[in-house]
Structure formats: C-alpha cells, structure tokens
Amino acid sequence: MNFPSKLIENAVNEISKLPGIGKKTALRLALHLLKQKETFTEDLSASLLALRKEVQYCNSCFNISDEPVCSICTSQKRDKSIICVVEDIPDVLAIENTSQYQGLYHVLGGVISPIQGIGPDDLKIEALIQRVANKQTEDKIEEVILALPATMEGDTTSFFITRRLKEFGIKVSTIARGIPIGGELEYTDEITLGRSILTRVNYSAD
C-alpha cells in the first residue's frame, strides 16, 4: 500500500500490529481519528498509556485489577472456599457473565505445552498450590474447579494440577461436560457454561 503521508503510514503500521486488524482497517481507523476533534485522540492515547503503565494483576488470583488485590478476591459476598482455575482473563469475564458462580478465581496465564516451550514454571501453578496450602487452617479452600479448555493441552494441564493438589485431600472437579471438544471457554455460550459449572464432575488423579 502506498501512502501520501509518512505520518499516515506510521500510524497504519502501528495500528495494524493489533490482532485481527489488517492494513485496510488500520487506514480506516487512522482516517477516522483525523476526522474527530483532537481531544478524542488525546483521550484515547491517554487511556491506553495509563492502561499499559498502571495496570496491575491481583496478587492472589492474577486477574486484572486496579488494586493489589482484586474486587472479586476482596468481596464479602464471594464464597472463599472455592477456586475456579482458568487459562486466561477473558475466561473470568465469560464465567462472571453467567452469574452462576460465586467463588474465587485463579488465572494461570496459559496451558502446559512443551512443543511451545511452556512448562508449569511459566504459569501460575505454584502460586495456586501455595494458595491452597496457606489456607489449610483459616478460610480453608474446600474445592478447586478446573475450567481449562477442552483441548489436549487443557486436559494435560488439568491432570498435572490435580496430581499436585492430591496431598491436600480437597475436592477437585472439572467443567468439561457440556463444552464441545476442542472448544474454548471464551466462545462457549453463557447458558452452556453456566450449566457446566453447576454440573461439574469430580476429577481423579489416577
């Protein structure tokens, strides 16, 4: 694509680095910004910059948060005896939208896949074990729900975590039922997802 201006070209190149955005769309967005008032672009870039610089992750569950500990973890209304383990942040939003779940979360940040060089140490698995171990006395964790994708990698990660949790003798369940094979949580409709949390099944490490 040839551009009449170096400024447009730079903007298009940067915008098209975003996932799902090609050069054509990037050009449309850049031209749109030029048609708006200058404050529009100022507000947009300020919010993006603030997001990048000030974003925090909850020290406990690794969900995105404005405080050191997120609003779900600090809420008095949540059941602190259950942790739902998910692959990534959009999964938390998907489950929250079902309004069927009142427990806490734990965001792993991915699933185990040696081919891609991702091992347990690259994920927040040890932190999960610590959460369960620390709370053995007060505020006891009674159940861990594994809501990882129904893919081969999701299954192996679930199994790995189940084995690690075995020594604590708590209930470990999975929501695999009702979610299509190979399906990812984010794309599962809310009713299916809500039901699958309610009908979760026990998971065994044997």
Partner: protein
C-alpha cells in the same frame, strides 16, 4: 459406489481435463511419463483428500502455477455427491461435499473407500515398520472414527513428550512429576490402539489368506503376526522403567509407534525368505483383503485403482486377477497401461463395459474402441 466424471485444473501435468467414466472398467493408456498415474492420484485425492504418491500438496500443482482443483461427481447407491478438492500455494487445502466445506479433512476420510495396487507396493514388505504401520493405520482410520481420534491424540501427546524429553536433556534433569501426565496418556492410548490393531488383524488375516491362495498357484501357508509390547501385562511398568533410556536417547522408546506387522511365509519372515513372485502375490493379497474388508464394513464396493499391473505382474497373476474382475467381484475399476493393444486384448475377454482414454503429454481424450 462409483465416480461418474472428473474435472481437473492445473493438477500435475494437466492444464485442463474433463471426462465421463464408465461404471465398470476405465483404462488410461499412453506412453510412460504421459501422466496416467496422475489420474489415479486425482481420484485418490477426491476419496482421501491426499495424494497416494506425493505427500506435499504443492508438488502436485502444475509447474509455474499457483493452485490446482479436482472436481468429481460420485454416485453413492443412487445419491449424488459432488466432491471438490482445491489447493492454493500457501493456503489451507479445501474440500467441499456438494458445496459444503468440510471442516476437518479427517471428517471426509472413510466416506469414499478406495484401494490402490501399484508396482512399488513391495516397499510394504521390504521397508521398515513405518510403511506397514501407515498401511494398517490408513485402513483402520477409514473404518473407525474412534481409531482415527485415538491415533491423532496419540501422535500429539508423543510429540509433546518427545519435546519435553529434549528439554530435560538440555537441563540435564528428568522431572518425573511433569512427564507423568504424558506417560498416562501415552500408556492408555497405546493399550487402546493396540487392542484395536489386534482385533483388526484377527478379522483381516483370514481374508488375506484366502486371497493369497486364490492368486498364487502354490499352497504355501502365509500369515501376519502383530508385534507389539503394549499388550503385555506389565506394559505400564516397562514404560516407566524405560525412562532412563528415553532420557539418554532423547525420545520415547515404548508405545504403539514401535509396533510392527510381520508378514510370514511358512512361519518365516517373508521379507527374508519370500521370492520376488511370492512377495508380489502377497502385496496383491494385502490389497484385495483391504478391498474385502471395506466392502463388508461399508456395504459398498470400494473404487479399485490398478497402476501399471499388466507390465509389472506375470501372465499367471494377471490372469488370476482378471478372473476376479470377470466374476464381478469388484466394482468400478481404473487401470493404467502403456500398451493399449495389450489391455484391449485382456479386457475384451471380460464381459464388462470398458472405456479407454488416451493420455498424451497432459491431454486426456476418449479413445475410439
């Protein structure tokens, strides 16, 4: 089931070709190198979404072109089905069933059974165990979706486990707890796959014996032994104790990827003790038994592709094979031959409709009878 016609574009040495087929015998004639076998391969593509000869799709695009298309209309017991296979360099291959895109290529496998007999099939006997595993896996995958699913999972977990072992080797440390999750999958799937292979062989072997007896004059006893360590009682324990070896060799040493199917003649390995003729008869029997097993499971006669058999087989075996054709044991047949007068003479003795096609430098024409 039969293929009514085929339309090719930029496939191998064909720029454009379109012909109507006979429901019975179709014979492609032309000098060697004219592209006869490519037509059999195009039919193979329609049935199984891939080449029988060349695994790389981009090597099947006509020279200096970007894409190929293969279209064909099938008759499935009165129901019409149009298959389109479209490949463009650098893009994902597409397969359409009557206009509807097939999401996973494996969903198409098994719908249109096909069996190919080719001269270099003796690789099945002479080469390593991988060729034989591929032959039986291909057959089992066309017969059972659950087998296909298990095999795909197995190969995936094996790849993951091998990648993990390489990482362990680099770090110089074996993490027993980490690899255990892969061990469990590979052990379970190995047992599952091995059972299915073993059961299949008990059904397949009698057919193989019957066909071997039919096409060879001799009365020698043949057989197959399915060789696996995955059905031993202590397989799981053996798998675990192979960890040290896995670590040293940087790969997984136990599991169904180590299986073999040993072909035997009078109880001895055919590979070492079979004559040229015995090996050829054995390969044909393997393929005819495949035909028979597809027929009994799918209730339709598979398409049979015979590549250059008049040239590569002796008169005796040709006669035996043609007797099966004359007895109408097969369905639709596609044959290639470099010498039209020979195939005409052989086929004229058979009470079946046969249509001849002349192949010359990538141009396909009907031939006057």
């Amino acid at each position: 089931m039969h293929l009514k016609n085929i339309r090719l574009q930029q496939f191998k040495n064909y720029n454009k070709a379109e012909v109507q087929f006979s429901e019975e015998i179709n014979c492609f004639v032309g000098i060697n190198g004219s592209g006869k076998t490519n037509l059999l391969d195009a039919i193979h593509y329609l049935c199984l979404t891939k080449s029988a000869i060349n695994g790389m799709d981009n090597l099947n695009v006509q020279h200096q072109r970007e894409f190929f298309t293969i279209f064909g209309d099938f008759d499935l017991e009165g129901k019409e089905l149009e298959i389109r296979c479209i490949f463009e360099s650098g893009k994902k291959k597409q397969l359409l069933q009557s206009g509807k895109a097939v999401e996973k290529m494996s969903d198409h496998v098994g719908l249109l059974p096909v069996v190919m007999i080719a001269p270099d099939d003796t690789m099945l006997i002479k080469d390593g165990s991988e060729e034989r595993r591929r032959f039986f896996d291909n057959m089992l995958c066309q017969l059972s979706k659950s087998y296909l699913d298990s095999l795909v999972r197995y190969q995936h977990f094996l790849k993951q486990r091998n990648a993990l072992i390489k990482q362990f080797a680099e770090k110089g440390r074996w993490d027993k707890n980490f690899i255990a999750v892969y061990d469990r999958e590979i052990i379970q799937l190995s047992i599952e796959i091995a059972w299915q292979r073993a059961n299949f062989i008990t059904e397949y072997e009698p057919l193989l014996k019957a066909y071997y007896a039919e096409i060879s004059d001799n009365q020698e006893e043949i057989g197959i032994t399915y060789d696996t360590h995955c059905l031993f009682e202590n397989f799981e324990k053996n798998f675990q104790s192979a960890a040290q070896k896995d670590f040293l060799l940087k790969r997984t040493n136990m599991g169904v990827h180590k299986d073999d199917f040993v072909f035997e003649l009078e109880g001895y390995p055919l590979k070492k003790f079979g004559s040229q003729g015995q090996q050829k008869s054995f390969v044909i029997a393997l393929k005819l038994a495949q035909f028979q097993i597809f027929l009994s499971h799918k209730k339709t006669k598979p398409i049979l592709l015979l590549d250059d058999i008049f040239d590569k087989l002796d008169d005796n075996r040709i006669q035996k094979l043609m007797q099966l054709v004359a007895d109408h044991r097969f369905g639709q047949l596609f044959i290639t031959d470099a010498r039209p007068e020979r195939s005409k003479e052989i086929l004229s003795k058979i009470n079946s409709e046969s249509r001849f096609f002349l192949v010359k430098e990538g141009v396909l024409k009907y031939m006057d009878q």
